[in-house]
């Protein structure tokens, strides 16, 4: 009998207990994987090559203040800038204010937007059709799938921030590497209904010639408008997005404390099981030692058992998390674009293995130290 078989046989000696333990650990690790996925998508998601080359210029005081439209050409003149496009958050309502009907609407310049967001894919004829229709819009393919939109459909957006309603026609459907939950339309549409926004823009998206230029260009832009009545704040697209996460509150502490609670809870569950199972086997341990097993190998046997239970639970948990997150991501909303990646799964499994080691060690250590005669006399 090999060591591995001995461990597996013992791990499943009390099937019900093993299954319950695995399920308990599995559910906890499902949650841990879920939290780590959120963490990753917020803070460490790899920025796409195109996004790393972009920066966002907004009013220094707050995003709710607009910038003068003429800044666009001034920004364009700064060395390292390839393209600049204006964007205006419309913030209107589609159908109602239910969260599932929420998506971003940006008024922009159809001539240049696709040159700044180079990773968006859209057939050339659709782009042209959009450029020729002042009341046209292009929509994210995922959003179109969710709402069953197709080209030529009408979109009515009720103005909330602006006192106008948009009646748009879908002219194009673009595909982005990760779903954007956005539609774009011609900003002049807002200007026609609400002339006060003429000559002002919400923010500018700037494409630079290389990722290395981003910091330098951001500095140059802010320097350019430092003494203007409307100074700017320029930051990389990633930093800009992190600003929104920061507004949700102390997300980091929230996620961390939940993760800690979960890890501690599985530690308790696992330690509990191992303590129960090892206590029942005090006599067996003594027997093993009489047969010549050393203390270290007895320790290894029990720790191995704890680790394998925790790993099976961990594997189940991460796999289910993968399926659930993928399913939820397709529904849109909060989890849009999130995915459980192999490194996240690996991290969860490492946590599981560590929990196994820690939880198995103490009872196993006690068991390995049992005096043979006492152990044989033990009544479980």
């Amino acid at each position: 009998m090999t060591l591995a078989r001995f461990v597996t046989k013992n791990a499943f000696r009390n099937k019900r207990r093993s299954v319950l333990t695995i399920l308990s650990i599995g559910f906890s690790l499902l949650l841990l994987t879920f939290m780590m996925t959120i963490w990753r998508s917020f803070y460490i998601d790899e920025v796409s090559a195109q996004a790393a080359q972009r920066l966002i210029v907004r009013h220094k005081v707050s995003l709710v203040f607009n910038l003068p439209g003429f800044y666009r050409e001034k920004i364009r003149a700064i060395p390292g800038v390839t393209h600049v496009v204006n964007e205006q958050w419309f913030g209107g309502q589609y159908k109602d204010d239910k969260p599932e009907n929420f998506f971003a609407q940006f008024g922009t310049d159809p001539q240049e937007i696709m040159q700044v967001y180079t990773e968006y894919q859209m057939p050339a004829d659709q782009l042209e059709a959009w450029q020729h229709d002042r009341a046209g819009a292009i929509v994210d393919s995922e959003l179109a799938r969710k709402h069953h939109w197709k080209i030529g459909d009408r979109l009515n957006i009720k103005g909330v921030i602006f006192p106008i309603n948009l009646e748009l026609t879908i002219r194009g459907i673009f595909t982005a590497p990760t779903p954007t939950e956005s539609i774009y339309f011609n900003k002049t549409y807002i200007e026609e209904g609400f002339p006060r926004v003429k000559g002002t823009e919400g923010f500018f998206a700037v494409l630079t010639d290389s990722p290395e230029s981003v910091t330098r260009v951001a500095k140059a832009i802010d320097e350019e408008f430092r003494n203007a009545p409307r100074p700017t704040k320029s930051e990389s697209e990633h930093a800009f997005q992190l600003g929104f996460v920061a507004m949700l509150g102390n997300v980091k502490a929230f996620i961390l404390s939940i993760c800690l609670a979960v890890v501690f809870a599985i530690l308790l569950v696992s330690a509990n099981t191992m303590a129960m199972s090892i206590r029942e086997r005090t006599r067996e341990v003594a027997l093993l030692k009489t047969l010549g097993f050393t203390r270290r190998s007895v320790l290894a046997l029990f720790v191995g058992e704890a680790v394998s239970l925790a790993l099976i639970g961990g594997l189940l948990g991460t796999l289910v998390a993968d399926v659930l997150v993928a399913g939820a991501a397709r529904q849109g909303g909060f989890l849009t674009g999130m995915k459980v990646t192999p490194p996240t799964m690996l991290a969860a499994l490492v946590v599981a293995a560590l929990v196994g080691v820690v939880s198995g060690f103490l009872p196993a250590y006690h068991a390995s130290r049992v005096n043979i005669v006492d152990g044989l006399r033990h009544i479980g």
Binding site: S24, F27, I161, P163, N250, A265, I266
Partner: protein, 387 residues
């Protein structure tokens, strides 16, 4: 005949280690659930208790936020002021306050980034119309000066928000001259300043909202309808409490994540409790058989073990709730999804939160206890005695 509860208590005490570890597991789950529910309770209190039912808030038509572009013209304000049903104060002025909202960026004290903070610009009349807001340090702003008064929470949570600090808004530096306490309402997330100074600084000619005080509830309803029905003015009137209540939707992300977390942790804990109870039953096979021989019926044995599981989970609930007590009243913030700025609120462990937490633990105890209890009662007496 029922088995006395003291039998279960003694058993739990006999197997201390197991009891403590299982109860701690449940406690962690309960603590997490309490934390999330307390957050939501605090948020609901902030928005649910703001506003006086006699106050009517008027916005531009089509807008549901004070932060909308294209506000209320000064002429419309004159009309609103003269509407019948608007109360007058002791000096004979109609209680109507034209206000403006700006969002400014302040760095958090704990270094977790910069966030938008709502800044409300109003006249002393507007302060008078919100009697629940009390000054606790310094003084109110002087009209015509670049002065602001911050809420207690803003003062605690943000850098550069102490008395004497200056905040750059538009063209100038505004000095913090006072701190107010709004007893947990939505104004706790605000900074207040003088509207006339702002209008000069920013060349803003419109109000983003107008607050009217009605003489009685009937007049409030009438004022709301008058504002809504006037075709020339194009306004949207609503009772002030309704406006703030609509902002409770800011808690949706917390509720969404919180619900998932609580349910998954509860399932995990139920399995752990089940494990413990199965072990308890297994150890006591002979004991249970003896109880049967003495004459205790199967139902009484099932009841006894379910009760033991409930005791275990209630112990967990107690520990979990005690663990969370130090966090009661802690202030935190999230994004207000109507004004896109920081909504400050406190964790509140209300009786409702505690009650729900206990029910939550009881459900875990039942889930974990019923199957093992059933198993215990079903065993053959003779086989069990022979173990």
């Amino acid at each position: 005949m029922a088995i006395p509860l003291s039998y279960n208590v003694r058993n739990l005490r006999l197997r201390k280690g197991l009891t403590i570890m299982t109860a701690l597991g449940i406690a962690l789950t309960v603590a997490t659930a309490v934390f999330i529910m307390a957050l939501l309770a605090g948020l609901n209190r902030a928005f649910g208790t703001t506003g006086d039912p006699l106050n009517v808030l008027v916005l531009r038509k089509g807008s549901n936020s004070e932060l909308a572009a294209g506000g209320i013209q000064r002429e419309a304000m004159q009309v609103l002021k003269e509407l019948p049903g608007v109360t007058k104060n002791s000096r004979g002025e109609p209680l109507a306050s034209g206000e403006d909202i700006l969002v400014i960026v302040l760095p958090r004290k704990d270094g977790t980034g910069e966030v938008n903070v709502t800044t409300r610009f109003l006249t002393p009349l507007g302060i008078e119309m919100r009697p629940s807001v009390k000054l606790i340090a310094g003084r109110w702003f002087t009209p015509g000066q670049r002065e602001i008064v911050v809420s207690k929470s803003i003062n605690q949570r943000f850098a550069r928000a102490n008395l004497g600090d200056t905040v750059h808004i538009g063209n100038g530096d505004w000095t913090v001259v006072g701190i107010f306490d709004s007893v947990g309402t939505a104004h706790e997330s605000e900074i207040w300043g003088d509207i006339n100074q702002l209008a000069t600084d920013f060349e803003r000619t419109v109000y983003s909202s107008v607050l009217l005080r009605a003489t009685d509830p009937l007049a409030a309803e009438a004022l709301k309808n008058q504002a809504n029905d006037d075709q020339r003015l194009e306004l949207n009137g609503m009772l002030e409490p309704d406006y703030y209540a609509s902002q409770t939707k800011s808690g949706r992300p917390i509720r969404f994540v919180g619900f998932i977390v609580a349910v998954i942790m509860a399932i995990g804990s139920s399995f752990a409790a089940m494990n413990t109870m199965y072990a308890a039953v297994a150890y006591r096979g002979r004991e249970i058989a003896t109880l049967r021989v003495i004459g205790f019926s199967r139902p009484s044995i099932v009841t006894s073990f379910v009760l033991e599981s409930l005791l275990l989970s209630l112990l967990g609930a107690l520990v979990g709730i005690i663990l969370m007590l130090p966090f009661n009243g802690m202030t935190t913030g999230t994004q207000n999804q109507v004004t896109f700025s920081e909504a400050v609120f406190s964790l509140r462990m209300t009786p409702g939160v505690i009650g729900t937490a206990i029910i939550f633990a009881v459900v875990m105890g039942l889930l974990g206890g019923i199957a093992p209890a059933w198993h215990a009662a079903r065993r053959e007496i003779l086989a069990a005695l022979r173990d």
